[in-house]
């Protein structure tokens, strides 16, 4: 039996050698589209914002091209249009973006806008409609609970947003809180805390949802020191988004979140740009602050 195993070892080595010689990696021979660079244009507009800003760069084909870190385009012709008129958006060096004040080209609720971009032989365009209404932040509940010996503090807050009835709501919630306290009272932490929370949701009309963004944060003091604070501030922004805004930002988030996970299914990043990538979307913004 031992002899058999010795023979097997030799044979196994031979087979491994054959596999290394013949089992191989080679250039794939499958039909792929011709490599083509496209414009990538991203812009979100809102009546509540003071600036219309546009990011413009180019995509790079994955095959038969060299990787290029900087694909920013500064000489593109960017035009925003509505039924009322049009404006050219210039490149602003300090922002590394194309930008224009909304005072020069107002963004109005319920109106439809077109964004066009052209650079050399490449061009793309997209259309979006600004949501008519802002979301009403119905309730912002904040609770702070100390442990018995005051060495631990649990902060919790949740946001309730009133749905706009009769439609699918695309909601994005931003939250942050600020615990203002004397410096160095927390274990290994600076004197003030900031924890932005962010979520984006599709709220189907058939299954209305009102509770968004429940958030908790636990603080503990160093050794037996008691936690002291001056104030706890929570700020919430609720965005009523256009469908394009929702689809694009959700897919970009998912793509970013799963980068590097070899087991993940690929994420299709949404675009509404004809003949390009990126997104032209719109939103309405409402805000609420609670101080405790």
């Amino acid at each position: 039996m031992e002899l058999e195993i010795l023979k097997m070892k030799k044979l196994y080595s031979l087979l491994a050698a054959i596999t290394l010689v013949y089992g191989c990696t080679k250039e794939a021979n499958i039909k792929l589209p011709e490599p083509e660079e496209k414009l990538v244009v991203t812009c979100f507009i809102s009546p509540e914002e003071s600036l219309i800003s546009v990011l413009v760069n180019t995509s790079k084909p994955r095959y038969n091209t060299s990787w290029q870190a900087n694909t920013e385009i500064k000489d593109a012709a960017i035009v925003i249009r509505s039924a009322e008129g049009a404006a050219t958006i210039p490149y602003v060096d300090s922002l590394h973006l194309y930008a224009i004040e909304t005072s020069e080209f107002p963004i109005l609720p319920g109106k439809t806008y077109t964004l066009e971009a052209k650079s050399n032989d490449k061009s793309c365009s997209a259309v979006t409609t600004v949501p008519t209404d802002t979301l009403h932040i119905r309730n912002l509940t904040v609770s702070l609970q100390f442990s018995k010996d005051s060495t631990a503090l649990d902060a919790a807050y949740s946001t309730q947003v009133a749905d706009i009835p009769g439609q699918t709501n695309y909601v994005s919630i931003f939250q942050r809180h600020l615990l203002l306290m004397p410096y160095d009272s927390l274990y290994n932490q600076p004197g003030d805390m900031l924890n932005p929370g962010y979520g984006i949701f599709e709220d189907d009309e058939k299954q209305p949802r009102e509770n968004y963004g429940a958030f908790t944060q636990a603080y503990s003091a160093r050794s037996s020191e008691k936690i002291r604070y001056d104030s706890f501030i929570v700020e919430v922004w609720a965005l009523n988004c256009s469908r394009e805004f929702y689809l694009y930002n959700r897919s970009v988030q998912e793509a970013a979140w799963t980068t590097g996970n070899p087991f993940s299914d690929p994420v299709m990043v949404y675009t509404n740009m004809n003949n390009g990538f990126g997104c032209f979307g719109a939103y309405r913004l409402s805000k609420r602050i609670q101080v405790k």
């Binding site: 990011l55 793509a255 980068t259």
Partner: protein, 785 residues
Amino acid sequence: MALINTFARPMTRSCLLFIILAPWMLSSQSRFTISGYVTEKGSRENLPGVIIHQPSTGKATTSNAYGFYSITLPEADTVELVFSSIGYNPVLKKVPLRKNQELSIDLQSQAQIEEVQVSTSKIEAISENVQMSVIDIPVQKVKDIPALLGEKDVLKVLQLMPGVQKGSEGSSGFYVRGGGPDQNLIILDDATVYNAFHLFGFFSLFNGDALKSVELTKGGFPARYGGRLSAVLDMQMKDGNKEKIRGEVGIGLISSRITIEGPIIKDKCSFLISGRRTYIDALIAPYMNQDRKVGYYFYDLNAKLNYVLSNKDRLYLSGYFGKDKFYAKFKDDFFSTKAGLGWGNATATARWNHLFNSRLFANTSFIFTDYNLRIDNEFKDQLNTFSLLYTSGIKDVSGKITFDYLPDPNHYIKFGLHSIYHRFAPGATVLKSSFTEENINQGQLFFSFENAAFVEDDWKLSKKWRANIGFRLSNFIIKNDYIFNPEPRISLRYLMREGLSLKGSYAKMHQYMHLLSNTGIGLPTDLWVPATHKAPFMTSEQVAGGVAKDFKKGFDLSIEGYYKTMKNVLGYKEGASFFQLQDNTGTITWEDNITSGRGWSYGAEVLLRKNEGDFTGWIGYTLSWTQLQFDELNFGRKFFARYDRRHDISLVGVYHINDRITVSGTWVYGTGNAITLPLNTYVAGGFGMSMPGVPGNLLNYYEVQDYGQQRNAFRMAAYHRADLGIQWRKQLKRAVRTFELSFYNVYNRQNPFFYFMQPTASGKQKLMQVSLFPIIPAFTWSWKF
């Protein structure tokens, strides 16, 4: 009027009952039943699927899974019955029929006699069988066909049949008529096997030495089967030789196996035990040093014990136990790490056959099955220790009772009950670190009941028409939800003329569990989960039609077309995976990772077989389309399933040159799998929040990929491969020795396994293809005694 109705209803019911029962009631006065068991000569192994027919009238029946048959015929001085089965010499028996008779028959295997006689008797004529879309694989055929590394594999032979596709190079996973691997019910001695693969899918669990029968149903499902949408693979283990101690030993390149069977009490009690283990770990161990070790092994064990308690009662105990283990250890002066991946199945079945009378047979089964996966990883350096443990699994305890009732040769009625208690553990994680507390994601446990009542009748309506009409009522209970679903089943056959028939079938199926899979090739990391509100149960409806033709000299041809719809098919959301514990909104469960959609599959299959003679084999061709649609994937648009395969061809030939030498060969061709490839990369601006500011435009930038805005838009290169094998047999003093030399991928086709990007010397990115198996010679020795 109300009064008339009051009387009319019972009257109507009585009349209907009389019409249904009249043929049996009237004829029972002058009819008698011949019943018994059909066994193999020399081993007394029960033989399922044996045709018992009366040549003068054409009346026929079939032995059931336990070899039991029953045929009721008019009183006569003598009746002639022919017992025939593929691979066995037919037996003609003349029996006086003046009373009910018990007649048990031994059939001699053609492999046991020197010259194979070509029989003209009734052997598995596909034009006569009402069932369509069924494939029987003789276990001997599995042993004849060349295999990767010489490891004979039932599932890989099934992949050579039309309508059955493999997942990827070397994989034993199979896709039936557009259904995923999770939609196949794999049963071994009544026990469900949840992960049927060793070595990451390259080999199946099923050791051919321990198997007696293998049957795959692709459509037109009889009512006794349920719980999956696409296919039922029903395998029976051998009972064990009741006359003599027999055995088989095989030594192969990566594993060896041994099977021993024999009587404990002659003709009454027998056993079978069969084991297999790989020795890749032992072979590569000398090449490893103490600080760097990698290894892998799998083993499996099949065991069976059966006892003939009396003429009317038989008891069978059988079990399977198998495990795969991959491990790696690395160590240097600064850190050490060790990782392990293990998975295993265990099944146990206790069955009791009871014969109430010569026409009513019952089988009662109690079944246990367990599948578990364990991934562990530990990293240590001088300061810290970090460890991760991930476990998942499923356990079933079930009971099943099935009755076979054969009132006359025109009816074969099966009815019964089946109840399964499932315990799902879809994934629990324990993370530990020296600096942080133990972080346990316990994972949810789910408990559910799956029940079914079924009845079916294989009904010979006339000489030309035959039907299998069935009904299954399935029930699923999870938490406080009770779900009932009716599942009608019907198969029809119209015999146009001798040897030529038209067939049609309709079946509705429900599946109350899902397999979450990123790869679709049956990796052990795939998770079994129950149907819940967020992951509703799946439903399929399949219609099929076809032609079956028997030719002379053992040729037969079947052509079938099918159309299947699937509802609530599960898939991972974009970006999700089995190992994802958190996203940007916090801790998530498997239910947060999945989305449900619909599927469509349709196509045509052609199978031309030669079953008799020195040369046997088949040609199979499948033309098919499979599409899926999920609201949350691919922007809600339809896309081709990864395993959508437009063309699939297989050629198989086995030639017995003489009783010492057998040569065999296969050739397969398949359209490449549908895949998603990144075409472009770009920087996407996202809406974000500034620090410490407010929400704002274009504050986050991400590098993302464009996949052509379509999932699975591209095709891998076509797959094709030829294998050849030659077996030399030699009769030794006490055993038959077989030496087999085989070549996998004879013409060294570089089939794609996966693709990846690689920069070239000039800095350009190229799409590269990795091929797994070049030409691989293999040999095995086996001794059968």
